[in-house]
């Protein structure tokens, strides 16, 4: 009898099968992920979770007898009341024998399983792509990685490449015709054989010849080294700059009294999702929260989402604050700048020209993307009724007309957040195609 401990064997033997299954059911899994997102808090987006997909696409049909029709019989345990000859009413949806199979009905319709965090995110973000990743910064120390790049003739002993050195030495020895040990030994043997028996002149001359030849070979052998310093080769490494992409995301939000909790909640989801996208595209993503009323201030996340400040509304103040922060900490040459703004659309009318000016002159040129969402009350506008545009919306429409990386949407319910982002970050190609068409 043998006992074998297999616990340390690599696990995940089913990983390939699992991936194949997901690939097979891709369309329905993706649909399920999208739907499950609706019920998921955005904070939990990157958690694993259970999803259910319809069985149809992943069935494994076999030739089996139908579940109903025909004459059937069954033996069942636990009889308490029946006698032979009794009649039982046919159970309504039963498949014959009267066995209770209620538990199975629901499970048959959908197939439930758990997606890991990676799989979930992968599917979730699958058809999304950030608009512009052109700006990447090459920075110093931490970004350099050593890469092997061939061989050099000088280097430290630790990097000596033995195989390459021996190869060089061999080719040099061949080229210079260094006598081999075997050759020398053969000659020695010949001399040894000839020496005691050499009598005639011819033989002596032959012997002298051989001795001289041997001396020549010996000299040659001494002169041509087995390994010469010129043979030495070292593995060569060179630092290769590794691109490090870093991004900063500015969250601008109006916190004046007109912003309800519901609106803030929408805004938060929007910011969270945007942040998630950015973290997948950049190694390092910093977030700056700026809230504003008629004055703007940089705040921490908690204050940003949970404090209400009384005052009027001056959107341009937030823009100015943001430019200040950019000037102080995030030079546009080094950082990809993303701006996300959420507001209910209120602004002092006289401030609008100022906002447009700031945007077109200062902010849009330095940012990769500017996304504006206008959050509305929970009840969506009555369909058909004219959706009255806010002043800010009207002003921004003007900006958007001439600018490819400025996007604006209206959102009323959290289920609309995802489609908005989906649209905002539609694959670049599609946007351009749409623009051209």
């Amino acid at each position: 009898m043998h006992v074998i401990d297999r616990r340390l064997n690599p696990g995940g033997r089913s990983l390939v099968n699992r991936q194949r299954f997901l690939r097979r059911a891709r369309a329905s899994v993706q649909q399920a992920v999208r739907e499950s997102l609706r019920d998921r808090s955005i904070k939990d987006i990157d958690k694993e979770g259970q999803i259910a997909i319809p069985r149809g696409g992943i069935g494994e049909p076999t030739l089996r007898r139908a579940g109903r029709g025909g004459d059937r019989e069954r033996v069942l345990p636990g009889n308490r009341e029946y006698l032979a000859g009794d009649r039982i009413r046919r159970p309504p949806a039963g498949s014959g024998g009267g066995g209770s199979q209620a538990g199975e009905g629901e499970a048959e319709d959908s197939f439930r399983f758990v997606l890991s965090r990676e799989e979930f995110l992968e599917l979730f973000l699958d058809d999304l792509e950030l608009p512009d990743l052109a700006k990447r910064k090459l920075t110093g120390v931490q970004a350099a990685a050593l890469h092997r790049v061939g061989f050099t003739t000088a280097g430290s002993p630790a990097n000596l490449s033995l195989s390459r050195t021996m190869q060089k030495a061999l080719s040099r020895r061949l080229a210079l015709r260094r006598p081999s040990r075997a050759e020398l030994e053969r000659m020695e043997a010949e001399i040894a054989a000839l020496e005691p028996v050499a009598r005639s002149d011819g033989e002596r001359r032959r012997l002298a010849d051989l001795v001289e030849q041997r001396a020549r070979l010996g000299r040659r052998l001494a002169r041509i080294a087995y390994i010469d310093p010129v043979d030495l080769r070292y593995r060569h490494f060179t630092p290769v700059p590794r691109p490090i992409a870093q991004a900063v995301m500015f969250c601008l939000m109006d916190v004046s009294g007109s912003m309800t909790e519901h609106m803030k909640d929408l805004a938060k989801r929007f910011f969270a999702l945007l942040h998630l996208f950015l973290t997948r595209c950049y190694e390092q993503v910093e977030v700056v929260f700026i809230h504003h009323t008629d004055r703007a201030a940089e705040v921490d996340e908690n204050t940003f989402f949970h404090s209400t400040v009384s005052g009027g509304t001056l959107v341009s103040s937030a823009h100015e604050e943001m430019l200040k922060v950019v000037a102080a900490r995030y030079s546009p040459e080094d950082w990809n700048i993303y701006v996300a703004q959420a507001s209910d659309g209120d602004n002092l009318v006289r401030d609008n020209p100022e906002v447009v000016g700031l945007l077109t002159r200062a902010i849009l040129p330095i940012s990769q993307y500017y996304a504006y969402i206008e959050v509305g009350a929970e009840e969506a506008p009555i369909p058909g009724a004219a959706d009255t545009a806010s002043d800010l919306w009207a002003a921004y429409e003007e900006v958007a007309r001439g600018c490819g990386h400025f996007a604006m949407r209206k959102v009323h319910h959290r289920r609309e957040i995802y489609p908005v982002l989906h649209e905002l970050f539609r694959k670049r190609g599609a946007v351009e195609a749409a623009a051209a068409g």
Binding site: V3, R13, N17, E60, Y82
Partner: protein
Amino acid sequence: MNPTTAQPLFTTSDWDFALIHRIHDAIEPIARAELGLDTYPNQIEIISAEQMLDAYASTGMPLFYKHWSFGKQFVANEALYRKGLRGLAYELVINSNPCISYLMQENSATMQALVIAHAAFGHNHFFKNNYAFRQWTDAEGILDYMDFAKRYIAECEERHGHEAVERLLDCAHALMHQGVHRHPRVRKRNLAAEAAREAERAAWRERIYDDLWRSLPAGPKAAPVPADERRQALGLPQENILYFLEKTAPRLQPWQREVLRIVRLIAQYFYPQRQTKVMNEGCATWCHYRIMTRLHEQHLITDGAFLEFLQSHTNVVSQPGYDAPHFAGFNPYAVGFGIMQDIARICDDPTEEDRAWFPDFAGTGNAPAVLRDAWANYRDESFIAQFLSPRLIREWRLFHVLDRQAQPELEVAAIHDERGYRAIRRALAREYDLARQEPDIQIVDVDLAGDRALVLHHLVADGILLDQEDARLVMQSLADLWGYEVQLHERDPATGRNLKSHVLKARH
């Protein structure tokens, strides 16, 4: 050693490898001397829960080729397991020589003892001795063959693309249950030689390859052959559809035939397990029950451990009544163990009724011998038909219900009384008769002179037709493999009337 003074093998629930050895060595004399078990050498492997899930997904085999359906099973099991809806089996055992049993590392020492008795002795004995396994499976060669199958299919994927192989496997899996020989043929198969045979064939093909053959002009058409000669030449009628395709399908590539063969041979390997579910589990359960009881009697396990064992054992063999909310048919463990316990009782302490029903062995007092004979020579259907006793029928309060399509109500045909015993026993045995539970489908003809349509008949039993949607999908797969039209006619065997036809054309 005086049994009353023996030290228990273990007193805590922790186990280590030395303890596993000691447990095995304590069980072995009981199994061999008292129960007369004859087993393959044992190989016990300890695995983690995750590895158990992995093994589940590939029908318990340590090696299997890759296919998405195993991934589907894996995620389904995983979801149930993680939610705590389903525990994992304590063990898995493979019909191979040496017999491999997987033990979960989470098991307590008592459970490990139970599992060793159950799998490494009970199942192992059954695999080695039951006639169905002896006839149809090759315990020596199965792991080598699985290894070959895995590598061969991976190679095919490399050569012909994942998609082509996946499509082929889908089709083959759909026909898997129609890919077994139900009746023995003469030749005993040696799975290890199969791999060598295929390698040789591939080498031969490469050696004789000559591009010139392509350019040969086509010969004159052969004269038409009479129908019955044609059928005979094709070996028709044939119920093993995969076998027929492998041998005769006109448009399959050699590698496709080999893949069909792999699926068919694996289906054949598992066929005895499907035929002997009740007996196999019953045998293992009866053995572990006997062995654990003997260990306890010899004071080799403590009272606490024995209670732990009894609790788990009782769960395993519980059989809820038909109206219980968690009733899901008969529990094979309960049925198998119940009948075997009953056989032991009849051997040792028969009633008058038992003597009348089982004159052959009632009161012989040699239960292990009678059971060994049953384990060796029966499958579920014949086992129940032979050994289900009136006493058990009463104890389980079995009743027999008829559901006639023509009648508005169900009818109770028999209950656990004098008049009903035989009817119930016959009916329960029929439920375990695979040949009756599965549709009887045969390939009957090929229209060689015309459009090469393949004709199949389903001999409809009890007026139960095939599930329409599934039948259509499977026939489509079959048509794709065959390469031409496929017709499936569902016939009433009594009148020969055609009840339904499925006709499908190949998609490429």
